[in-house]
Structure formats: structure tokens, C-alpha cells
């Protein structure tokens, strides 16, 4: 499924969606950036509550399909702007990380 399809299915708020057709192949949840960097797979939907701009470097380098900020964690405007500039899909949801992961897992059939 694509990032856009995932976003629609989960009713996520779009903060940045320059790559809507990116295929989502899995999911990963975590807030410790090095941990995520070492374990997330290319194509994952990454669920986190971290919102500083370093998440974008991690998403770009780990090559995740999108970042989903859980629990309406506040994302500053400069981070959103940087996500657009770097071509990274960045979404937000009021759901908890756990709920998001359950739903993503169900959508992806894992």
C-alpha cells in the first residue's frame, strides 16, 4: 500500500506529503533515534512521539516510507518545512503509538 493510502485509511493529518506513492512495506515504532536508525527497515512507516528536526535525518537515512507522529505531539513549523524540502512524508495522529501500530499491522496484514 502507498503512503497516501495508509494516511487515508488511518485518517492521518498531513504535515508533509511530497512522496504520496511511496510504498509502505512494514512498520517500526521507537523514539531513540540511534535505535530506530539501526533497526527500522527501508519502506517502514515509522511511528514516534519525537518531533525535533533530527527525526527527518533519521527518516531520510533509514529510508522510511513515512514518519507518523503519535498522540498529536507538537511539530514545529520549521520541521514541517524541512520535511517538504527533503521530500519526506510526515503525518500526525491523535492515536497512541500502540493504536497506530495495531492498525498499521492490520492494514499491512502482518
Amino acid at each position: 500500500m502507498t503512503a497516501k493510502e495508509l494516511r487515508e485509511a488511518l485518517a492521518l493529518q498531513v504535515l508533509s506529503e511530497p512522496d504520496p506513492d511511496r510504498t509502505v512495506t512494514g512498520g517500526y515504532a521507537g523514539d531513540l533515534l540511534s535505535w530506530v536508525m539501526g533497526r527500522a527497515q527501508s519502506g517502514d512507516a515509522w511511528v514516534t512521539i519525537m518531533t525535533n528536526r533530527n527525526i527527518l535525518a533519521v527518516a531520510a537515512l533509514a529510508d522510511t516510507a513515512c514518519v507518523i507522529v503519535a498522540e498529536d505531539s507538537v511539530v514545529e513549523a520549521d520541521v514541517t518545512a524541512l520535511a517538504v524540502e527533503k521530500g519526506l512524508n510526515l503525518y500526525r495522529s491523535s492515536l497512541t503509538g500502540f493504536d497506530l501500530c495495531c492498525r498499521i499491522g492490520s492494514l499491512l496484514g502482518v
Binding site: L33, S34, W35, M37, G38, N54, L61, A62, D63, K86
Partner: protein, 145 residues
């Protein structure tokens, strides 16, 4: 071995806003050179971790990326405090990062282990009070000797 193509970057210390820029630039360059995606991913992750380490612990440093026919070499050099016990620093979860750094999501004690995990060879030369140089090699697919 023929003369490698070289890229040089200066990494600014204590600047978490620009941290990772060198790695993201390397990723772009390698993409332009049509390197295979997994090699690009390994190089850029290992380099990012090293870059973050220099930002957190060493007030910055330099990053050099050398492209050989069979491998990509990353050399990260700083004049920071050095690593007193390299074996301890290599353990997953060991970290000397301060709370303000942890609040940003760093300092999980995964930096050096990730660098080792994502490269084929890693050497750390460090002297307390003088600095640290980390040299990493990622072999290109099918070129791993």
C-alpha cells in the same frame, strides 16, 4: 589501489540542527553515482552515527568519504576528549551522553554498535585528551574480500 574519489565535510560541534547534513549529502552523492541502495543505506547510517557522536562528544570534527573501486571508506576524525575504554563504548546501551542530548532522542548507546553493524570493517584509534579517529569500510556488493 587507484586514487579514490574523495569528499570532505566539516562537522560543526554542538549543533543538533545541522547534525546529519554531511551524511545526507553523502547519501545524495552516492545516489547520483547509482550505487546500490543497500550500500548507500549502510554508508549513510554509519556515517550519521559517527557524525552525531562528534557533535555530542567532540565539539565537531571532519568526515572524509573515499570511493575506491571495491569499497567506500569513511574516516571520521576529531580532537575531542577521546574514548577511555573502547571495548566498553562498543557495548550496546553504554552512553556518556548528557540528559539534554538524551531528550533529543540521542544517547541510546547505539552509535558505535550501529557503526560496526552497518560496516564491514571498523577501526577506532583514540587517545584520551587528544581525540578519536574512526575508519570504516563498506565493501561494494560482490567485492567483499
Amino acid at each position: 589501489m587507484s586514487e579514490p574519489v574523495k569528499f570532505h565535510f566539516d562537522v560543526e560541534g554542538d549543533n543538533f540542527s545541522s547534525a546529519g547534513e554531511a551524511s545526507v549529502n553523502v547519501k545524495k552523492l552516492l545516489r547520483q553515482l547509482s550505487m546500490d541502495p543497500e550500500t548507500i543505506r549502510r554508508v549513510s547510517i554509519a556515517m550519521y552515527e559517527g557524525e552525531i557522536n562528534m557533535v555530542i562528544h567532540a565539539n565537531g570534527g571532519t568526515a572524509d568519504v573515499l570511493l575506491y573501486p571495491d569499497r567506500i571508506r569513511i574516516i571520521l576524525a576529531d580532537t575531542g576528549p577521546g574514548i577511555a575504554d573502547v571495548a566498553l563504548a562498543m557495548q550496546e546501551g553504554f552512553s556518556t551522553a548528557k540528559d539534554n542530548v538524551r531528550a533529543l532522542g540521542f544517547g541510546a548507546g547505539m552509535g558505535l554498535p550501529n557503526m560496526k553493524r552497518y560496516t564491514d570493517r571498523m577501526e577506532i584509534e583514540s587517545e584520551v585528551g587528544k581525540g578519536t579517529t574512526v575508519t570504516m569500510d563498506v565493501f561494494l556488493p560482490g567485492k567483499n574480500a
